[in-house]
């Protein structure tokens, strides 16, 4: 197992390395440059040239890339032009905020997705199944940024039960309760689509398993229905659902871009959007690198968990 994990981690290195080159090239290819973005209306060729020199952007592209790479090996991701602070500080702070949001959403969508999937499989073609399928369909088709705005309108503006934006209260607060209070609406919004996907797949997987002979045997043995479903059927259905949850983890982090913008959650998605529009190359590089590394890691974790659950894969 350890050897397998090590092999997967080593295989991820060239992927990440290639990714940094691609990001660097794309950022170099898109028109506009940080100096123009900073100077705006005042971007005369003279001012742009002077600022580029001050920012170290007058060097050749390969030179810039290798300087970046060299610094990376020393744990230095450079300094953001637009934020005037070390990229590493910003990226880690932002990424932990995204992890809190995406992690909570992932837990929510796993719980609700699995439960909904099981419920509709057990009552196939019954009312529960029909209602759950309808809800799942609505969930999958709802644009999450729109849902987010509706929730803000309902729960923050009208009912004033939850804050409209941010991660902590602006004065006081700062504890876990405060965080959960701020987390409720964005995490719920972010989990809706993934809940639908997981529910549908759980339903399919469960239906497959429930038809198996050993389930009939278990029932024939006189086990209670809940024991049959959760102990026997669900455990093997989970094996095919786990990789989907792993993929959803990636989607949830991707989807966080919108949700972070709508709820002003200080995560890495909204940071990247801003960094790209201001051509903040180093910030984009640092952010993409961390997100990609997390993606690789999540898929690895999903694979490992699957292997642990399914003896056939060992």
């Amino acid at each position: 197992m350890a050897a397998y994990i090590a092999k997967r981690l080593i295989a991820a290195i060239p992927v990440l390395f290639g990714l940094t080159i691609i990001v660097f090239l794309i950022m170099a290819m898109i028109p506009g440059d940080p100096a123009t973005a900073i100077l705006g209306s005042y971007a005369t060729p003279e001012n742009v040239a002077r600022l580029n020199r001050d920012l170290g952007l007058d060097r050749s592209l390969p030179e810039q890339y290798f300087i970046w790479l060299g610094n990376l090996f020393q744990g230095d991701l450079g300094r953001s032009y637009t934020l005037n602070r070390p990229v590493l500080d910003e990226v880690l702070e932002r990424f932990s905020a995204t992890l809190i949001l995406a992690g909570t959403s992932l837990i929510l969508c796993s719980i609700f997705g699995l439960l909904a999937g099981i419920a509709s499989a057990v009552r196939q073609y019954g009312w529960t199944d029909k209602i759950v399928t309808l809800l799942v369909l609505i969930g999958i088709s709802t644009p999450s940024f729109w849902l987010g705005l509706l929730l803000i309108l309902g729960f923050a503006v009208n009912l004033r039960l939850f804050p409209a934006s941010g991660m902590y209260a602006i004065y006081g607060g700062g504890d876990l309760l405060d965080l959960l209070h701020h987390l409720a609406l964005p995490a719920l919004t972010l989990s809706v689509v993934a809940t639908g996907v997981i529910a549908r797949l759980t339903r399919t997987a469960m239906l497959e398993v429930l038809r198996q002979d050993y389930v009939r045997t278990a029932r024939a043995k006189g086990l209670t229905e809940s024991r049959v479903i959760f102990r026997h059927a669900f455990k093997s259905a989970l094996v095919s659902v786990i990789p989907v949850i792993g993929i959803q983890a990636g989607f949830v982090i991707g989807g966080a871009v919108y949700i972070e913008t709508v709820f002003q959650w200080p995560g890495i998605g909204s940071m990247l959007v801003k960094a790209i529009s201001t051509r903040d190359l180093l910030l984009v590089q640092g952010g993409v690198l961390v997100v990609a590394a997390a993606y690789v890691l999540f898929n690895l974790v999903a694979d490992v968990v699957q292997t642990l659950l399914d003896p056939r894969l060992r």
Binding site: P31, D33, S41, N84, R160, I170, Y171
Partner: protein
């Protein structure tokens, strides 16, 4: 199975109940301001965005500042000044007994340090930049601390906008001791002489400034001001409606009505030194002809643009100088009326035979208001007089990269907007022959009129305000007649305040002065 579902629902409900019953209102005597973005830095010399200026003017003072409600300068850290006969030496008498927030004294040496840091590449703290707007002071040759309360600026040529540039945030004075202490991180540990002291900056969440008890111009009443960055306009509105903000700036036109009709909020508007215009390519047909350029000015229904698309958040522009520069603005100037018939006649006179014109439109950008909708409406107006404009839309940075080098061979017209601090800036950088793109200026449409060049040069050299005003007024008449641009709109900035906020006023400079604001 049922039990499981019941348990899950109960857990979810408990999670909701966990939350405190109601969201707290903002506390008394603390003002929460909704900003449109995270500040880049709190080093006034390192930033370029109005969003940052709104904070900085409350933390720092300059030698001079804009008089309340105007764009005219008045004393601030300098009590008085004299200008030499040749207009090249400015001597400032400084206010005595003023201290920076870090306790070090404000004096002539501190002023010299500020300008040397920005302008001299060999200054020991030049590496705390870059200073993108340092060229505002590029005329400064030498700054001398004559004695602790006297500082002298030597310019390489007479430069009348110098005083209003000093009133701009790039001229705010920072504490040299704090720069020495924090180096490159000064922008996150700012120290000035302003009405509020920097207290805390939690990235992407809030920036807190507290009352400066020793403020030389009278300590403010508010205990603290909290600036919150909320980038999404809809979220900002929701936060304002739910009571999480006391002041919100840049309200989108669509939402203004909602706030206006509620007694919980006050909407304020103030015209600023902003101009939204179309650059016309005067080098190539059809706009090489003055008649065709005037035709475009007649053809476009500016009142409809301002009323329908911008929903009253702007006024119709008459010429190249915004009315906010009251002292330099020619009040007799009337905007080109909407007159499609006259436009058709003029196009005929220009010999225009219906060839397509290329129209650069941007998706967004600072001061560009609603550029796509405005571009489309303009296209329709031109179509109505027989001119077929083909729109090419670009993202803002790409757009600037296309427009700034000049329109020749690429486009016939382009949208543009400027916000400036002196009536000199925009025409000097964008209407002179010496400001053609290949000479490092912004005259992307290649307008050239020796008379205008002459007036603008002269206006820089005379230091008497009424003499300068006369020159600018003459320039405006000529430029309006020559029509190198289509003059469209002057933006009114707006802000919404909670009903509890008193004595708040928007300034034509677009800065957010909070010294006198009260919120019991």
């Amino acid at each position: 199975m049922r039990k499981w579902l019941t348990a899950a629902i109960a857990t979810a409900l408990m999670a909701l109940a966990l939350a405190p019953a109601a969201v707290a209102q903002t506390p008394p005597n603390v003002l929460v301001v909704g900003q449109i973005a995270e500040p880049k830095s709190l080093d006034p010399q390192a930033v370029t965005a109005v969003n940052d200026f709104r904070i900085l003017v409350n933390l720092y003072d300059g030698l001079v500042r804009y008089k309340d409600g105007t764009l005219e300068v008045e004393p601030s850290l300098a009590e008085s000044w004299t200008i030499s006969e040749d207009g090249k030496t400015y001597t400032f008498k400084l206010r005595e007994g003023v201290k920076f927030h870090d306790g070090t004294p404000f004096n002539a040496e501190a002023v010299k340090f500020n300008f040397d840091r920005m302008l001299k590449e060999d200054h020991p703290f030049a590496d705390t930049g870059p200073f993108p707007l340092a060229f505002f002071f590029s005329a400064v040759e030498e700054v001398t601390a004559v004695d602790p309360t006297t500082v002298e600026f030597k310019l390489d040529a007479p430069y009348a906008p110098f005083l209003s540039n000093l009133a701009y945030p790039t001229g705010l004075i920072v504490s040299p001791a704090a720069v020495e202490k924090y180096g490159k991180d000064f922008g996150r540990n700012p120290s000035g002489t302003g009405a509020y002291k920097f207290a805390e900056w939690e990235p992407n969440a809030k920036m807190v400034a507290t009352r400066n008890e020793d403020y030389w111009d009278g300590a403010p009443e508010l205990e603290a001001v909290i600036f919150r960055p909320i980038t999404d306009a809809n979220t900002r509105i929701a936060e304002m409606l739910s009571g999480g903000l006391d002041i919100m700036v840049e309200v989108p036109p669509d939402s203004l009505q909602q706030f206006k009709s509620s007694s919980d909020f006050t909407v304020r508007e103030q015209a600023g030194p902003h101009l939204w215009f179309l650059i016309l390519n005067t080098k190539e047909a059809p706009f090489s002809s003055k008649a065709a350029r005037q035709a475009a000015n007649y053809a476009i229904n500016k009142t409809a643009l301002v009323d329908n698309i911008l929903q009253g958040t702007a006024d119709v522009a008459a010429g190249p100088t915004p009315p906010a520069f009251a002292w330099a603005y020619d009040e007799t100037l009337e905007p080109y009326p909407y007159d499609p018939e006259k436009a058709k006649e003029l196009l005929k006179e220009a010999g225009y035979d219906g060839e397509d014109v290329t129209f650069y439109v941007t998706e967004g950008g600072s001061g560009m208001l609603d550029p796509v909708a405005m571009g489309t409406a303009i296209q329709a107006d031109l179509q109505a007089v027989g001119m077929n404009a083909k729109i090419e839309t670009y993202e803002w940075n790409t757009f600037l990269g296309n427009v700034n080098p000049g329109l020749e061979g690429k486009a016939d017209m382009a949208e543009m907007a400027w916000m400036t601090n002196d009536p000199d800036t925009l025409p000097f950088l964008a209407l002179r022959t010496d400001a053609f793109p290949d000479k490092g200026g912004f005259n992307s449409g290649y307008y050239s009129n020796p008379k205008v060049d002459d007036l603008l040069e002269k206006a820089r050299q005379v230091t008497d305000q009424s003499e300068r005003a006369a020159l600018y007024k003459e320039m405006q008449k000529i430029v309006q007649e020559d029509a190198p641009w289509v003059f469209v709109a002057n933006w009114k900035q707006n802000a919404v305040t909670a009903a509890t906020v008193a004595d708040f006023k928007l300034q034509p400079s677009f800065f957010l002065m909070l010294q006198d604001v009260k919120k019991p």
